[in-house]
């Protein structure tokens, strides 16, 4: 805070020179500092490329993700043998598959491209759910304080102590149960339908949202409490601003930074949650590819056909790197204490 530039105008002339300087908002300042962070820039570029890949998958992927050519199963391109020499004795070559074919003869490359859709959807939906629920919840709890806060936070504590993974398994088992238990027209039925229409991704969202929003709510609450006591909030109350105005105009804009950073850093966690759910067989419905399910399938054959696990794992790792570096960069850039450094 002590770093604020003193711009006390001493004379009219000084004022004019000041005004001719480019003025810079907090956002611009943050952006400028973000752009200086090479890792963050690289991360951001990778994410943009990934989004493009996901959107343009039908044009980039060389084959449909579900096309099986049974006789081509486990085929590998020639170049792969130089990377994994252990493949040599039994590999069947086919250069039609840039990264090889999987256990039923589907093109790994195309599936990785399409698989980015699931991972990126998770990367978008996770924060969405956790921000919508978590921020609203945490704001209410932190702003009103007192017994409201007490009750709301105790609820979070209970949910926090509840292993969400088991909750997902139980939910999935419940909603993917025989049709007779769930009658059409009910809420449960629509959820079931929604899940089916999303290719089984709905419960991944639920699972991710479940774990995520509690952390978000706690973070938001803490931030709101610290901002709530600031004098500018009192000032807003003095002029008669409504609770909603104070919340949206004064408190939220001031906590957005930490929240954005926390979410960006949480994204890799969501992506790996999807991978884990896929590993225990609770992921997307086949044949929809996801990196998680590809890794889970490939990991079983990792000694025989390492490419089937390693390439999707590589895709996952690159994505996680990108989000992590971007998140770290954003934090450095948005931290008001670091403002004006470098």
């Amino acid at each position: 805070m002590a770093n604020t530039n003193e711009v006390e105008p001493k004379s009219v002339g000084a004022r004019d020179t000041l005004l001719t300087q480019k003025r810079e908002s907090l956002g611009q300042d943050a952006f400028r500092r973000l752009m200086r962070n090479h890792a963050a820039v690289v991360g951001g570029v990778i994410i943009i490329i990934l989004i493009l890949l996901a959107l343009l998958a039908p044009w980039i992927a060389i084959k449909p993700f579900s096309e099986q050519v049974l006789v081509d199963q486990n085929k590998v391109p020639k170049w792969l043998v130089s990377v994994f020499p252990s493949l040599e004795p039994y590999a069947v070559y086919s250069n039609d598959y840039p990264l090889g074919a999987d256990y039923v003869g589907r093109d790994l490359f195309s599936r990785i491209i399409y698989g980015s859709r699931v991972s990126l959807t998770v990367a978008l939906i996770g924060p969405l759910i956790s921000i919508i629920i978590g921020v609203i919840y945490g704001s209410i709890s932190g702003y009103f304080g007192g017994w409201v806060d007490n009750i709301m936070m105790r609820i979070v504590d209970v949910l926090y102590a509840f292993p969400s993974l088991l909750f997902i398994i139980l939910l999935m088992a419940f909603f993917r149960s025989p049709i007779s238990d769930i009658q059409p027209g009910t809420f449960a039925y629509s959820i079931k339908e929604l899940d089916e229409s999303l290719g089984g991704m709905f419960f991944i969202f639920i699972g991710i949202g479940l774990t995520a929003w509690e952390t978000m709510a706690r973070l938001t609450r803490g931030q709101v409490i610290s901002i709530r006591e600031k004098e500018f909030v009192e000032a807003a109350r003095t002029i008669g601003a409504s609770n909603a105005r104070i919340m949206f105009r004064h408190i939220l804009p001031n906590i957005v930074g930490p929240l954005v950073v926390a979410e960006t850093l949480a994204i890799p966690g969501y992506i790996s949650t999807e991978a884990f759910l896929s590993f225990i067989g609770l992921g997307v419905n086949p044949p929809t590819p996801s990196w998680g399910s590809m890794i889970a399938d490939g990991a079983k054959a990792i000694r025989t056909y390492p490419n089937q696990a390693i390439f999707p794992a590589l895709a996952l790792a690159i994505t996680m790197f990108a989000f992590n570096f971007l998140g770290d960069g954003l934090r450095d850039a948005l931290d008001p204490r670091l403002r004006g450094t470098q």
Binding site: A2, R154, I302, N324
Partner: protein, 353 residues
């Protein structure tokens, strides 16, 4: 502080009660029962089995008798003899005079005949705890130095390299890392045993391996690393962020102005204060690691708790589901309590009453 701890412990009890209600209702709501088999059992057999485990009673009776068995201490004059019935095994048995105080009967496992949830806790939890503690140590030993290095050399190659290594740990899932470890170190190089755990019950003090020798560490090395690498990234990043903030505080400048050595400044002044966010994450991390991790235990063939977390649900082994979830909740709440106490140590401004 004492008051604070007592309040938190009582509060923990409330959390656990709520968690138990939710779990109980949820697991009974899920279709498929504990005696659903690929080869279906005759209805009569299922009825007999349900009667044996009191599953034919109304849900509220089942729940209250569960609570009674788990939460209410029992006072008897008969010494514990869990042998005859797997329904009569208490975790805590204390003899005062001729009176036995017995507490926490988590019930029998439906799947493992003659075994109780308490048996599973006694045999498997220590192993998960050993693995968890070791992987936590590894993640701290890797994560903290990386984080400190990255913070001190912010935005240099060293920073990117350090964070890169850390993130790599969390980016490559154990599903891939584990088998690769087994392949490289277990099979190809034959440096380490590919699977298994060298410690077995009975455990020293109930949780320490009774044979803490080279063989034990040989077995522990790969799984601890596979598990610890993931958390080391979290620790590294938090350390970095927190240290970055701390070293810009005025008192660090003052320390610099005093002409203190940089090393002294970092170790004595900055580290302690930047540990608070790191300690926060250690709580849940510890709880998660100690209660076991499914994938790691499966890949490395470790007889820990983690597998029970997933398989008990698949088997609809109700007492094991309840037991493991409550255990997890207790660990989590306790871990958070310990974190809060650690806060007070790290930051003398924090007082609880």
């Amino acid at each position: 502080m004492g008051r604070f701890i007592v309040r938190r412990l009582l509060y923990m009890l409330a959390v656990i009660l709520v968690v138990s209600v939710i779990t109980f209702l949820l697991m009974h709501a899920v279709p498929g029962g504990p005696f659903t088999r690929e080869k279906s059992l005759p209805e009569e057999t299922i009825k007999i089995l349900e009667k044996r485990y009191h599953l034919d009673q109304p849900l509220y009776v089942q729940y209250t008798s569960y609570l009674y068995a788990v939460f209410i201490p029992h006072f008897t004059t008969t010494p514990p003899n869990a042998a005859l019935s797997s329904q009569d095994d208490f975790l805590l048995n204390v003899k005062i005079g001729s009176l036995w105080i017995r507490w926490m009967n988590f019930g029998p496992s439906y799947r493992s005949r003659g075994r109780t949830v308490n048996d599973i806790f006694r045999d498997n939890l220590p192993i998960s705890a050993q693995l968890g503690v070791m992987s936590l140590i590894i993640s701290i030993l890797i994560g903290m130095p990386l984080g400190v290095m990255a913070a001190l050399k912010q935005n240099t190659m060293l920073d990117y390299l350090g964070m890169g290594i850390a993130i790599l740990g969390v980016s490559v899932p154990v599903i891939v890392l584990g088998p690769i470890f087994v392949w490289v170190f277990g099979i190809t190089l034959k440096w380490l045993p590919p699977t298994g755990w060298a410690a077995k019950p009975p455990f020293f003090l109930g949780f320490l391996p009774s044979n803490l020798n080279w063989e034990f560490f040989q077995h522990a090395l790969m799984p601890s690393f596979a598990l610890g690498l993931g958390s080391s990234a979290v620790i590294a990043r938090l350390t970095r962020a927190s240290l970055l903030q701390t070293i810009r505080e005025d008192y660090i400048r003052t320390a610099r102005a005093k002409g203190l050595q940089e090393r002294v400044i970092i170790v004595r002044h900055a580290m302690k204060n930047s540990m608070i966010p790191v300690v926060t994450i250690l709580g849940p991390l510890f709880a998660a690691l100690v209660t076991g991790t499914f994938v790691t235990e499966l890949i490395f063939g470790i007889p820990g708790m983690g597998k029970y977390f997933v398989t008990s649900i698949t088997n609809r082994d109700y007492p094991v589901i309840m037991g493991t979830i409550l255990l997890y909740a207790v660990f989590l709440v306790l871990a958070n309590l310990i974190v809060d106490i650690m806060y007070a140590y790290l930051d003398p401004r924090i007082r609880y009453d």
